[in-house]
């Protein structure tokens, strides 16, 4: 057994979290509230160190007075406490939202549309090795069909009838195969995490695994 009280704390808290698997109980409740509390305290310190200091305190120290604009706008959040003025809180929200939405459009066009269009299209390099199982023409055509069928499932303007029904259900087949594969593939990563925890408990805490 370890003689380090910190290791003991870590081990007991881990066990308290795992106890939820049996059922909700006072130990878990305690650990859960301690846990969320600690994360909030952590968030406060982190927000101060990584946001407030570089983006508010330092500009003030360097006399970059433009910083009073976001400070003033940020203060509007506090109108929440004044019911008559609380609509002013929407201004900082509008700024975040406008910035995010504008920024997003060209990025979505590039990453989610153009890159994917390219990935789906057959190109001349695929013609060189027709039967290659990953990059060949035949597989390329399979990916093309799968992608188009999946798109057709998300077609909202028509009922899924006739040809659209066939392609949409083929699309769903692809989706299900894909989801199954992803699920199966993730099992290993999650099991590794659990093994890691077990190793901590049975190596660092109770020296059972050699």
């Amino acid at each position: 057994m370890s003689g380090n009280p910190w290791i003991w704390l870590a081990a007991l808290l881990s066990l308290a979290i795992f106890s939820f698997l049996y059922k909700d109980n006072p130990t878990y409740k305690f650990a859960e509230h301690l846990f969320t509390g600690l994360t909030v305290g952590y968030m406060v310190v982190l927000t101060w160190n990584t946001y407030a200091i570089p983006y508010i305190v330092i500009p003030l120290q360097e006399h970059r007075w433009l910083i009073f604009i976001p400070i003033a706008v940020g203060m509007l959040y506090f109108t929440k406490f004044i019911p008559k003025l609380s609509y002013l809180m929407l201004i900082p929200i509008a700024i975040s939202l406008g910035f995010g939405s504008g920024l997003g459009i060209p990025l979505y066009v590039e990453a989610d549309l153009f890159k994917q269009i390219q990935g789906t299209m057959i190109n001349t390099s695929m013609l060189k090795n027709i039967w290659d199982p990953y990059n060949g023409l035949v597989v390329g055509i399979l990916i093309l069909i799968g992608t188009i069928c999946t798109i057709s499932y998300f077609f909202f303007s028509r009922e899924h009838k006739g040809a659209l029904k066939i392609s949409a259900s083929t699309g769903i087949w692809f989706v299900m195969i894909g989801f199954g594969a992803s699920f199966g593939y993730t099992v290993m990563a999650r099991m590794s995490l659990l093994i890691g925890r077990m190793q901590f408990l049975f190596t660092d805490w109770i020296h059972l695994i050699k």
């Binding site: 698997l21 049996y22 990953y134 990059n135 099992v187 290993m188 990563a189 099991m191 590794s192 659990l194 093994i195 890691g196 077990m198 190793q199 049975f202 059972l208 695994i209």
Partner: protein, 282 residues
């Protein structure tokens, strides 16, 4: 019988949890190991290293990973180092990830003690080298420029092992152990430009990224995830370099059993489901 089978349809989830705990813990505690089917990429890496002359040119192991992925990558480093030291192959250690600095040192000094190997003559550890691809380019020009002094502060010229090591021509293999895309960078800057032989050890999640490079031979070998590490442990046991397998093999057994458990659970669930449905239809 039918009643029992139909019960499989709705087993309490706590029984499932208990089964998971058991199949994970037993291989870890009782040291149960299963024989692995060794992937070609792992075999290639082993053969590469095994073909190096004992006491001749050193291989370079770059610890390009952070503590978060250490459970998967540490066992690889340990297995490869055991192979090298048991066979008498010299090792140059370094790293491109700041947090890998201490990881590499801890492993290399632990394993070197097991085999009574000395820093400076049997292995050299240079620690974290900032600069990423620049470091790779420097090694291609002049190793001394890239690694002026080792982790312990000894200058390059005072390291007997490094005498006669000028660039990649004198290093038969570079092994990058990485949780991110460092092997890619090694391929581009050391492999393509200086014709160095590159191999990698990576997490299971990253492995598919590198299949194309294995196919083209830009990577001469690879260990992928816990499985790759376990395969390497098995290879060095089979070749007689070490007596028993290590942590990756245990973890891999635990992973295997947990996969089999989930597969069995699905099968049982379906049996239960069909039996129940038949009983309801009657």
């Amino acid at each position: 019988m039918m009643k029992f089978l139909s019960k499989l349809n709705r087993m309490d989830r706590r029984i499932v949890f208990l089964l998971v705990t058991v199949v994970i813990l037993i291989p870890l505690l009782l040291n149960i190991q299963s024989r692995l089917y060794v992937d070609k990429a792992t075999h290639d890496l082993f053969n590469r290293i095994d073909a190096i002359q004992p006491g001749g040119q050193p291989i370079l192991i770059s610890f390009d990973y952070d503590p978060q992925v250490a459970p998967e990558l540490d066992p690889m480093a340990v297995a490869v180092l055991r192979h090298c030291f048991a066979k008498g192959i010299k090792v140059i250690g370094m790293g491109l990830q700041p947090q890998g600095d201490a990881i590499g040192e801890a492993i290399i000094s632990r394993i070197s003690k097991e085999y009574n190997k000395k820093s400076g003559t049997d292995y050299c550890y240079f620690g974290y080298r900032p600069g990423g691809y620049i470091v790779m380019l420097y090694i291609g020009e002049n190793v001394k420029k890239a690694l002026p002094q080792d982790y312990y502060g000894v200058s390059y010229d005072s390291l007997p092992m490094m005498k006669g090591i000028h660039n990649y021509d004198d290093i038969p293999l570079v092994l990058s152990l990485a949780g991110s895309t460092w092997p890619n960078t090694w391929i581009m800057f050391a492999g393509t430009r200086y014709k160095a032989s590159i191999a990698d050890g990576c997490t299971a999640v990253m492995a598919p990224e590198y299949y194309p490079f294995l196919q083209t031979g830009q990577l001469v070998g690879q260990m992928a995830g816990m499985k790759g590490a376990a395969e390497y442990e098995q290879l060095i046991v089979d070749a007689g370099y070490t007596k028993s397998k290590d942590i990756a093999s245990k973890a891999m057994s635990a992973i295997s059993y947990s996969h089999i458990l989930i597969i069995l659970l699905i099968v049982m669930g379906n049996i239960g489901y069909f039996v129940t449905r038949r009983m309801e239809n009657k």
